[in-house]
């Protein structure tokens, strides 16, 4: 059957009639590439900035045709009314977002979503971050340190130039250690090597918070399980609405089905079914490749022919 391509519908509530005055406008006020392929965005969203807490995320949609994607709030500035997000350009939407310029707008941002990180005086807290997970750790480190904890941040990356926010984390925590696969910064190896070391040196460690790729979080949990250190992980399953309606973000925790957007995104890492999560994150690979290929193809044509962009 021939595919029907219809003009975009929906969103009549914003087209046609004049925008109601209270309509939220989400403008990009600053953007730069922090490490290769990871972009920092500062976005005007005063109402969300006012309520954001460490550990929370937003769901955004770039345009009428867009997918809704979740992104962690790495920083919020109540005074300026801005949110800072770090986006790793991995697929269609994140690549498209990485091409936004300062001054351009984002159609929809809903948030702050998810339950905030518990901020208490625990004692010694080890924060383990990898990839864009480091961005998520930044506000957590800041608040835990301010709450009187001794915070030890362990950051991992493949190579020095891929290490995100090192200075900021340094400023936000009591101590920082770095591991890179190639040894170009810190020690050569994995963050879990650093964690083993810290657990040996510091006793007791009262809590571990790990945010990063699933393999990393899983390895962290295996390590801390042996010494029964309470460990929180922030899960990133596929999401659509982010309000507990669709069930796409379900994960098994302690044998029970939980919804990461309303019950999480943080859970007790020792109870999370990581293989199940990994499997579900693989769910859309073929389609995402298709979407990305088509997008980059269109982009290339556009550059060659200088055709007007799709509205």
């Amino acid at each position: 059957m021939a595919r029907r391509v219809k003009p975009p519908r929906g969103r009549s509530t914003r087209s046609g009639t004049a925008l109601p005055e209270t309509s939220l406008v989400f403008n990009v006020v600053a953007k730069d590439e922090r490490t290769p392929g990871v972009f920092r965005f500062v976005i005007q969203a005063p109402q969300i900035a006012r309520k954001a807490r460490p550990g929370q995320f937003v769901i955004l949609r770039l345009n009428e045709h867009g997918e809704r994607i979740p992104l962690t709030i790495a920083h919020h500035d109540e005074v300026r009314g801005t949110l800072t997000l770090f986006v790793q350009a991995v697929g269609k939407t994140s690549i498209e977002m990485s091409r936004l310029k300062s001054g351009q707008g984002i159609l929809d941002i809903a948030g702050p979503l998810g339950r905030p990180t518990e901020i208490e005086r625990f004692g010694t807290v080890v924060l383990v971050g990898g990839g864009f997970g480091i961005a998520a750790l930044w506000p957590i480190a800041r608040e835990l340190t301010a709450a009187g904890n001794r915070t030890i941040a362990l950051l991992g990356a493949r190579s020095k130039n891929l290490l995100l926010l090192q200075e900021e984390i340094q400023a936000a925590s009591s101590e920082v250690r770095v591991a890179t696969n190639d040894g170009s910064a810190g020690t050569r190896g994995l963050v879990t090597d650093l964690l083993e070391q810290v657990i040996r040196e510091e006793s007791p460690v009262h809590r571990v918070i790990a945010i990063g790729p699933v393999v990393m979080m899983k390895a962290v949990c295996e390590l801390t399980r042996a010494s029964s250190i309470p460990t929180r992980v922030s899960l990133n399953p596929i999401m659509i609405d982010g309000t507990g309606m669709c069930g796409a973000c379900r994960v098994m925790v302690d044998g029970k089905m939980r919804f990461a957007c309303v019950d999480g995104p943080e859970f007790d890492g020792h109870l999370v079914d990581f293989p199940g999560l990994e499997n579900r994150l693989r769910g859309y690979l073929p389609e995402e490749r298709k979407s990305r290929e088509q997008f980059t193809r269109v982009e290339e044509c556009r550059l060659e022919e200088a055709t007007p962009p799709r509205s």
Partner: protein
């Protein structure tokens, strides 16, 4: 006054034209086409204009059925629309999606001997006529009261309350979590049953009445109830956040790829346009054999939506009771059959089997009907040793949903039942335990119907009006 030409049930019930199954099963265009004016007048002429109309008692919002039917019979279609709108804000919607056979039409007296009057179809006709004629509702809002009302959720309950409250002169702001207003009407019920332009028209109508709709606004997160009532100066709040948290079966294999809740499946298609991927960015796999679990409207919608995906070869509905017990609307069941959905009755899934992380089959068990249970329906009992595997590469679970947790999580002084539904302290006016806070629709009753949600919206609007006008 002129009487309709012929009365009584000598004229057969007029059936509205429908798109042919072959044509419609691959298209998202509306299936039922609706009456022509002549057909509507003929059908309306069958009404006996009962002095004590039973039909009205069957309608949750008590639409003045005999009056509007008489107006249709006389050709006064726009007056008929006005009559309906006195009690029903969304007739084009209810005319299409109400389970009429269990409500108004169930009680119609001519249904005792013959076929009941097609009240729903007439309601739809009148609303469509009004819309196509571009008629204004002519509703003059009352002078401004200076009171501000916040409505949480733009589903049928919220939209109805907003319309009534705006007409009473209040300043109304609807806060909606998604990027689109409409609630289930938009993300759940598919286009071929309820065209989007109808919902959009109704939303525009509200905006013309001065209602503001604030999208992307998740109450409980960006604002708490208390902030709305204090900082933002709202005099009352109506919570109409609908159902949430889809139920799953609790059987092995539910986290395999290819298993969806009906909400996710329908949202991907209806709200996010996944069937137009990659024109739109949200994907849905090219599933071929889809098994839908359940027997309600949601299951039927999921199955008929699945059938319309270009990749679909076979769509089955697996339901543990028999066809008589199916809760879905009769018309939907008939449409699904005509379009080629396979019905598997008296079977229940016991496990979902996978391969490389993907669904491969549903292991089912055959059932037989035993004694009636508390609901009066015969209880399905498993037949030991009857397991078999139904090949499928997607499973859509349509077992209904629980309550949306966000608001109750945030407002500890709001009383909820053990399942998280908001409890009312005065059901006549939809008032909760928290002062100034009202609630209605699926968040109070659990998954119910569009018209009952609208009825709650109406009651709440009256309750809120009295409340804010009393307090100073």
């Amino acid at each position: 006054m002129e009487q309709p030409p012929k009365k009584g049930n000598k004229i057969p019930r007029q059936s509205a034209p429908e798109r042919a199954p072959e044509e419609r099963k691959r298209s998202f265009d509306e299936v039922s086409l609706g009456y022509s004016p002549a057909m509507a007048m003929l059908e309306a002429s069958r009404c006996l204009q009962c002095k004590k109309p039973k039909c009205v008692l069957g309608c949750p919002v008590h639409v003045r059925i005999p009056e509007f039917i008489r107006q249709v019979a006389e050709g006064d279609f726009l007056d008929a629309a006005r009559t309906i709108r006195e009690t029903n804000a969304l007739p084009a919607v209810t005319g299409r999606v109400c389970p009429q056979e269990d409500q108004c039409e169930k009680h119609c007296v001519i249904g005792i001997k013959g076929e009941p009057l097609a009240i729903g179809k007439l309601e739809r006709f009148v609303a469509d006529y009004e819309r196509e004629a571009g008629a204004e509702d002519g509703m003059q809002p009352a002078p401004p009261t200076g009171k501000k009302i916040a409505i949480i959720g733009a589903g049928p309950a919220g939209l109805t309350a907003a319309g009534d409250l705006a007409a009473l002169g209040h300043e109304v702001v609807i806060f909606e979590a998604l990027h689109q207003a409409g609630g289930v009407l938009f993300y759940g019920i598919p286009e071929f049953r309820l065209p989007r332009n109808i919902i959009e028209m109704e939303i525009d109508r509200l905006k013309k009445r001065g209602v503001t709709i604030q999208l992307d606004y998740v109450i409980g997160k960006i604002k708490s109830l208390d902030e709305l009532l204090t900082e933002d100066g709202f005099h009352a709040v109506f919570i109409a956040t609908g159902a949430g948290l889809p139920y799953f079966l609790g059987i092995p294999g539910e986290n395999l790829n290819g298993v969806y809740s009906a909400n996710e499946f329908l949202t991907r298609v209806n709200l996010m346009h996944a069937w137009e991927f990659p024109e739109f960015d949200t994907p849905l796999h090219a599933h071929q054999a889809i098994a839908v679990i359940g027997g309600g409207n949601t299951a039927l919608d999921a199955a008929r939506t699945a059938l319309r995906l270009p990749s679909a070869r076979q769509v089955s509905i697996v339901y543990r009771r028999s066809s008589e017990e199916m809760p879905a609307r009769h018309e939907e069941i008939r449409h699904a059959r005509e379009e080629g959905v396979l019905f598997r009755f008296l079977e229940r899934p016991v496990a979902i089997l996978g391969e490389n992380g993907w669904v491969k089959a549903v292991r089912c068990q055959k059932m037989q009907l035993g004694e009636p249970d508390a609901s009066g329906r015969r209880r399905p009992l498993p037949i030991p040793g009857s397991e078999f595997d139904l090949a499928a590469d997607a499973v859509v679970i349509a077992l209904g949903s629980g309550s949306n947790p966000l608001i109750a999580q945030d407002a500890k002084d709001l009383e909820t039942d053990p399942e998280g539904h908001i409890e009312l302290s005065d059901a006549d006016i939809q008032m909760t335990s928290k002062p100034g806070v009202f609630a209605g629709g699926d968040i109070v009753t659990g998954a119910a119907t569009v018209i009952s949600a609208m009825g709650a919206g109406k009651k709440a609007a009256r309750g809120i009006h009295d409340y804010v006008m009393r307090s100073t």
